[in-house]
């Protein structure tokens, strides 16, 4: 045993490993509390943080997803939103068209079906209902399809859902134009439903006669994705 004089020593390594596993299990169990506490801390920090580095703190707001291989982007100057299908007049809207329509502001929590939630997001844009009116959408038609210019993502809503006063074609988030990561220049915001309903990089709204399940809905997620009442989850409602 040489210089250690035959002393075997205490199994501290095992204790450290088991202790960390316990801490990890605790973190998983107490996840929502941990992340909302961290969210408050980083929220307070990011208010005084010109570098944007505070967004590296876990629990701070949006996590960014894209179903395609990259984050698509069209600059506001070439962006067009088409309204098609069973409408009396098909529309092609520019970003300034959206700016000149009746503006609506909403402040709502944003809840992802994977669990994270961003509290009190300020959105601004045009009510989807106003866009449908401008195109003279056939209100007897039952449903809408939404297409993203990423070429892959689609979403759906019933006409009744689409006419709610908390469903926007949004172009502003927290006072800033919606950028590439958040699905700009314009995206859908379906405030009472899980985030996947809020189609990013919105390029076309099509009025159709029945609901066609969207991208995630084809993969097993609920079509009627009310926060707290779908996908087997019980989060607090967002709207």
């Amino acid at each position: 045993m040489g210089a250690e004089g035959g002393e075997l020593g205490t199994p501290v390594g095992r204790r450290v490993v088991l202790g960390l596993l316990g801490l990890g299990a605790l973190g998983v169990a107490a996840g929502p509390q941990v992340s909302s506490a961290l969210g408050r801390v980083s929220g307070a920090l990011s208010a005084h943080d010109p570098t944007g580095l505070s967004s590296l703190i876990p629990g701070n707001g949006f996590r960014y997803y894209s179903v395609t291989n990259d984050f698509p982007y069209r600059p506001p100057s070439t962006y067009r939103l088409r309204v098609t299908g069973n409408v009396s007049q098909e529309l092609t809207l520019t970003t300034s068209d959206l700016k000149s329509m009746r503006r609506t502001r909403l402040t709502r929590d944003f809840q992802c079906v994977t669990g994270w939630r961003v509290t009190g997001v300020h959105w601004e844009g045009v009510l989807l209902s106003d866009v449908l009116d401008a195109a003279g959408a056939d209100t007897d038609q039952h449903a809408l399809r939404f297409f993203s210019y990423d070429g892959a993502y689609t979403e759906s809503l019933t006409m009744t859902q689409a006419r709610r006063p908390d469903v926007l074609v949004a172009d502003t988030i927290d006072g800033q134009p919606i950028g590439r990561r958040h699905g700009g220049p314009a995206r859908l915001l379906v405030a009472p439903m899980y985030g996947y309903k809020s189609c990013k990089w919105l390029s076309e709204i099509r009025v159709v006669d029945k609901v066609v399940p969207g991208y995630w809905e084809d993969l097993g997620y609920d079509v009627d994705a009310w926060v707290g009442h779908s996908n087997g989850r019980s989060d607090a409602p967002t709207s």
């Binding site: 020593g9 596993l21 973190g27 629990g59 590439r180 996908n231």
Partner: protein
């Protein structure tokens, strides 16, 4: 890189390769993980599917070099056993400010190395388990908080491990002889006699004179 002229055998070839492959996998995990995590970087790199798959594959591969090493190398098994136990000398080493000059008969690993190894192993296991939870499809209907808990725990432990790895690299930079030992398997004798006196004496004076 050449081994030191006057050296003591410290690591076997298998151990060197366990270290290298694990380090390479951790580098991939770090790069891909940061890309998935940090929005501006996600946009810059894009190619999300590739980044995501690389992260998952690297994560699943992470324990393999170590497990394979444990299977085929008695030396690695011995070293792991030694790393797991804190002796009286290790406690002194951890406690004393003059630890590197006190002439303590430190074994093959000092107390700091032992604690760091255990912390790394525990944190690695937590990252692996929470990563596996995040891979579980939503259709499994895990309780609401579990996915969120796994996410935040994975994030927090990642930052912990990054701090630890920062220290690991910093110490490696300050101890070039230790780097040589991890490249060649052989450590400079005078360095070993200074930093691991107990072990150096044991290696230099083999089995005929035990317990000196």
């Amino acid at each position: 890189m050449h081994p030191p002229a006057d050296g003591l055998p410290r690591f076997t070839v298998v151990e060197l390769w366990v270290h290298r492959t694990t380090a390479a996998i951790v580098a991939v995990l770090f790069a891909t993980g940061m890309t998935l995590y940090y929005g501006p970087l996600s946009v810059l790199v894009s190619r999300r599917a590739l980044v995501e798959t690389s992260h998952i594959v690297a994560g699943l591969l992470l324990p393999l070099p170590f497990l394979a090493g444990m299977l085929i190398s008695p030396e690695l098994r011995e070293d792991v056993a030694a790393l797991g136990r804190l002796t009286r000398v290790d406690r002194l080493w951890l406690r004393r400010r003059d630890r590197r000059r006190a002439g303590l008969p430190v074994g093959k690993f000092n107390g700091g190395q032992k604690l760091a190894a255990a912390t790394m192993a525990g944190a690695g296991l937590v990252l692996l388990c929470t990563g596996l939870l995040l891979l579980a499809p939503v259709r499994l209907d895990l309780p609401d908080g579990v996915r969120e808990g796994a996410t935040i725990t994975h994030d927090l432990f990642t930052f912990g491990v990054l701090l630890l790895l920062g220290g690991h690299v910093w110490l490696a930079l300050r101890h070039p002889q230790a780097r040589v030992a991890l490249r060649t398997g052989v450590v400079d004798r005078s360095y070993a006699e200074r930093e691991h006196a107990g072990w150096a004496a044991e290696v230099a004076a083999p089995a005929e004179t035990p317990g000196t």
